[in-house]
């Protein structure tokens, strides 16, 4: 069963260099478990049926109550299976934790409730774009609470911890799209902190990287703003169609007056938006939780201008 890289009943398709390795140990344990479980339960059922008391006063056929030989005999296979699993588990783990020196590096920031993948050319994206056939190393940190980067198809998982870096690496052979989950509980929209790994061929990846650089120069500000807000996860909480989210919707919001949590009124203008991006907790709209992370130092001035242009355009 484990010679296939296609999805099976138990495991999703194998898409990274780690996957076959993990699956081999998984299926080793799986068959060891199935065999020992069936053997034990079969023996148990057999004994229960065969030695059932017919008369309540029937004595047991034997009162033998110990055998050191027997104890050792069944301890040994347990040890053996454990030793094999331990050995391969450690070998696999070490290789998963040791990125090659020539790996392509992407910086990852996790925050409630989105991912930011940061490339050397300054571009930040909400999905992870990587080239196929090249080892990729992620250096990750969180801005707020614990998150965890998980791609089932890669068999890769690593917690993303605030105040420190953690790392993960993998190499994907075939281009395609794969699901990223957050697997460390992080609050309200933990289950919607999803993203995709988009694996390009090496050439396509280069083209993509060039095309996403300098969007501010290439696109009109409204479109650049929309791209930025999608990539940075703003739209995960603020809808643009009027739906109620964790934060207020942007639909038709520009220029309106809103009530803040401290009771004062505030017009939705440039200053307000800028302030809310830099210091979100300072002017919370009444009725919404104070959960937005700050983007201070993460968005350039020009980028904020583009975002404002986009918000203005949502009628």
């Amino acid at each position: 069963m484990w010679f296939t890289s296609d999805p099976t009943f138990w495991m999703p398709a194998q898409a990274s260099n780690h996957a076959a390795l993990v699956d081999n140990i998984y299926y080793f344990l799986y068959w060891a478990s199935v065999i020992s479980f069936v053997a034990c339960m079969f023996a148990g059922a057999l004994f229960v049926l065969k030695y059932r008391a017919k008369n309540i006063n029937d004595k047991a056929l034997s009162q033998v109550d110990h055998s050191t030989t027997l104890e050792l005999t069944w301890t040994l296979p347990v040890f053996a299976v454990a030793a094999v699993a331990f050995y391969f588990g450690v070998m696999g783990f070490v290789s998963m934790k040791t990125p090659p020196d020539d790996a392509y590096e992407v910086n990852v920031t996790a925050y409630k409730w989105a991912w930011a993948f940061n490339y050397a050319n300054g571009h930040t994206d909400g999905n992870l774009h990587i080239p196929a056939g090249v080892p990729v190393k992620l250096t990750m940190s969180s801005d707020d609470v614990l998150h965890s980067f998980y791609v089932p198809a890669f068999r890769v998982k690593q917690d993303v911890v605030p105040g420190r870096y953690t790392q993960a690496w993998f190499e994907v052979t075939e281009p395609g799209e794969y699901q990223i989950f957050c697997t460390e509980y992080c609050g309200t929209k933990h289950s919607e902190m999803l993203a995709k790994v988009i694996v390009h061929t090496e050439d396509d990846f280069k083209k993509w990287l060039d095309s996403v650089g300098n969007i501010l120069d290439r696109l009109p500000p409204e479109e650049a703003g929309k791209m930025l807000m999608t990539q940075r996860g703003c739209l995960a909480c603020h809808s643009i169609d009027g739906a109620k989210g964790v934060g207020p919707t942007f639909k038709g919001s520009w220029g309106t007056t809103r009530k803040l949590a401290d009771g004062s009124d505030q017009v939705m203008d440039e200053n307000y938006v800028r302030q809310s991006i830099m210091e979100p907790q300072s002017q919370i709209v009444a009725g919404f939780p104070p959960v937005m992370p700050t983007f201070k130092g993460k968005l350039e001035d020009r980028e904020i201008t583009a975002i404002i242009a986009f918000i203005k355009s949502i009628k």
């Binding site: 999703p12 229960v48 034997s62 911890v161 105040g163």
Partner: protein, 561 residues
């Protein structure tokens, strides 16, 4: 043992149940049996409360959309489910409820070593429970039962005060657990009867002894952890909160130093119950007594060395992960030894399939699956894939619910005649057992599959590919819930209306069966001398009283085959 009859001097009409009357006589009682029953009542209520949360969670997960509740309410529900089940139900259930009742009688003494401390620990439990449950009114915690920082230490939606209230609740509950542990160790150490050396002790006592060691040595670390968390939350200490230079991974070390051994607080006493039940209903000496006894101690001690296997993906160092993985396998050996010995006990036995035995056999089935899947999670590379998915959820439910709840019912049905002097209805008990067994497997087995397929835990909504598994699981949860209600109904019905139970309905030879059912207030007039607890052939079934008596006390025409 001719003097045996003399031990039971109290007249049968004077039992611990009617020795004194009125609510007050229960509220301030120092009698271990009544305290045990009060624990039983409270933990049973906690089980029902936690069960309601579980059903709400499962119902919400029927589909990926919003069915019953919003994100935030869902997060509070699974947190409360975990916290209530772990701290209010599983940890105190078998040791504090059954242990309190049975342990002194098994030792042939009048009470535990420190009766006042025993009552105090019950009230500490009640106070802790009030704190924990109050957190629901303070808009409920949503941190998960693990209280991971910095989520728990930084401001969250509506959970500001709830985290502190629950953390203090669990802090207080910890002391209840510690005091129970101290009490049991002191009792077993100094109050064993004549003739009961360490290796003549019934295995249940070994299991409780091992459990108590963990309670005394691990729980204080949980207490200090939650105290630090509370102070962190209130005053911003910066020990665990990275915004102030603290270390959230250190919190996990603190938390799991207790919470991993705590898993054995939950399952060891369950194993003790099973060891008693299997022997009795096979009418055969338990196989490998010393191995079972020592494996309890081994599990307790190794349990202190494996906490880091909860942290393989948390940012723990490579070195620590490898060491912890290696040590984790050491737990597999004593656990496997127990299972093999129970099965071997059945061989050439004289097996009776009364309800306690059925629950015990179900326990072996479920615990075997729980234990084997534990091997997957102890294996480093595989755990990276499975960690924090439904595979883990299924694994620990198989061990903790499959294990503890099955053993709890095995123990309750086994000792119920002793508790109340009344027999239960076998049909109700067996049908309930079947429902619980089926419901449990239907609920949790699909979770292994979807976990392997990558479904993360603590998810409010999910990708559509997982929906069939979630739906099977939800159906199973309702069967399981119904089965548990029925099991309780069987017990309540028996306590109220059951036919009178003989002193020794099962032919077991541990000391508690040598006193009357229900026991007199004093248990024994003077401490009886211990006999071999597993010498089943010293007893014969007496048709007239419907129970078992000593061979020498049996009527001459006794039904010896």
């Amino acid at each position: 043992m001719t003097a045996d009859a003399a031990h039971i001097v109290s007249s049968r009409d004077d039992t611990y149940l009617n020795h004194t009357k009125g609510l007050l006589s229960w509220v301030v009682t120092l009698d271990h049996k009544r305290i045990g029953l009060m624990y039983l009542l409270s933990t049973a209520l906690a089980l029902c409360l936690g069960g309601v949360f579980a059903l709400l969670v499962r119902t919400e997960l029927w589909g990926p959309e919003e069915n019953l509740m919003s994100h935030d309410v869902y997060n509070q529900m699974f947190t409360l489910h975990g916290a209530v089940m772990v701290f209010l139900f599983i940890i105190p259930s078998i040791p504090a409820a059954i242990g309190n009742f049975i342990l002194p009688i098994m030792l042939g003494v009048k009470d535990v070593a420190f009766p006042r401390l025993n009552l105090a620990s019950f009230y500490i439990y009640v106070v802790g429970a009030i704190f924990l449950v109050t957190s629901m009114y303070l808009s409920a915690i949503d941190t998960g039962w693990t209280f991971y920082t910095p989520y728990s230490s930084s401001a969250q939606v509506g959970s500001q005060s709830a985290v502190m209230s629950s953390a203090m609740g669990v802090f207080i509950l910890g002391f209840s657990s510690i005091f129970t542990g101290i009490n049991f160790i002191a009792t077993i150490n100094t109050m064993r009867p004549k003739g009961m050396g360490w290796f003549n002790m019934p295995l249940f006592l070994w299991a409780v002894y091992a459990t108590s060691i963990i309670q005394v040595l691990a729980t204080p670390v949980l207490a200090i952890t939650l105290l630090l968390l509370t102070v962190e939350r209130a005053f911003g200490l910066g020990i665990f909160d990275p915004a102030l230079g603290g270390d959230p991974v250190l919190f996990q070390h603190f938390f799991w130093f207790y919470s991993h051994p705590a898993v054995y607080i939950m399952v060891l006493p369950a194993m003790g119950v099973i060891s008693e039940v299997i022997g009795t209903f096979s009418r055969k000496r338990i196989f490998g007594y010393k191995f079972i006894a020592m494996s309890s101690l081994a599990i307790a001690f190794i349990g202190f060395l494996v906490w880091g296997h909860h942290m393989f993906t948390s940012g723990q160092s490579k070195l620590a992960s490898m060491v912890f993985s290696g040590l984790t396998y050491l737990v597999a050996v004593p656990s496997a030894i127990k299972v093999f010995n129970w099965l071997t006990t059945l061989y050439k036995g004289s097996i009776r399939l009364n309800a306690p035995m059925l629950y015990a056999l179900s326990f072996i089935w479920l615990f075997a699956i729980g234990g084997l899947t534990g091997m997957f999670l102890g294996t480093l590379a595989v755990d990276v894939h499975l960690h924090d998915t439904y595979f883990v959820v299924a694994h620990f439910h198989y061990v903790m619910v499959g294990g503890t709840v099955m053993a709890l019912f095995a123990g309750l049905y086994y000792w119920w005649p002793k508790f109340f002097g009344r027999m239960y209805n076998e049909t109700i008990a067996k049908v309930a057992c079947l429902l619980v067994f089926i419901g449990f497997n239907v609920t949790f087995f699909p979770q292994f599959v979807m976990g392997s397929q990558g479904m993360p835990r603590r998810y409010y909504t999910y990708l559509e590919q997982y929906q069939p598994f979630h739906q099977i699981s939800t159906v199973g949860a309702y069967i399981l819930g119904f089965g548990i209600l029925m099991a309780f109904a069987g017990l309540i019905l028996a306590a109220l209306k059951g036919p009178k139970a003989p002193d020794n309905p099962w032919g077991a030879n541990t000391l508690e069966w040598h006193t009357s059912s229900p026991p007199p207030f004093d248990n024994y007039a003077s401490q009886p001398e211990a006999t071999d607890p597993y010498d089943y052939h010293a007893l014969v079934f007496d048709e007239k009283i419907g129970g078992w008596v000593k061979v020498e006390d049996a009527p001459a025409t006794g039904g010896e085959a």
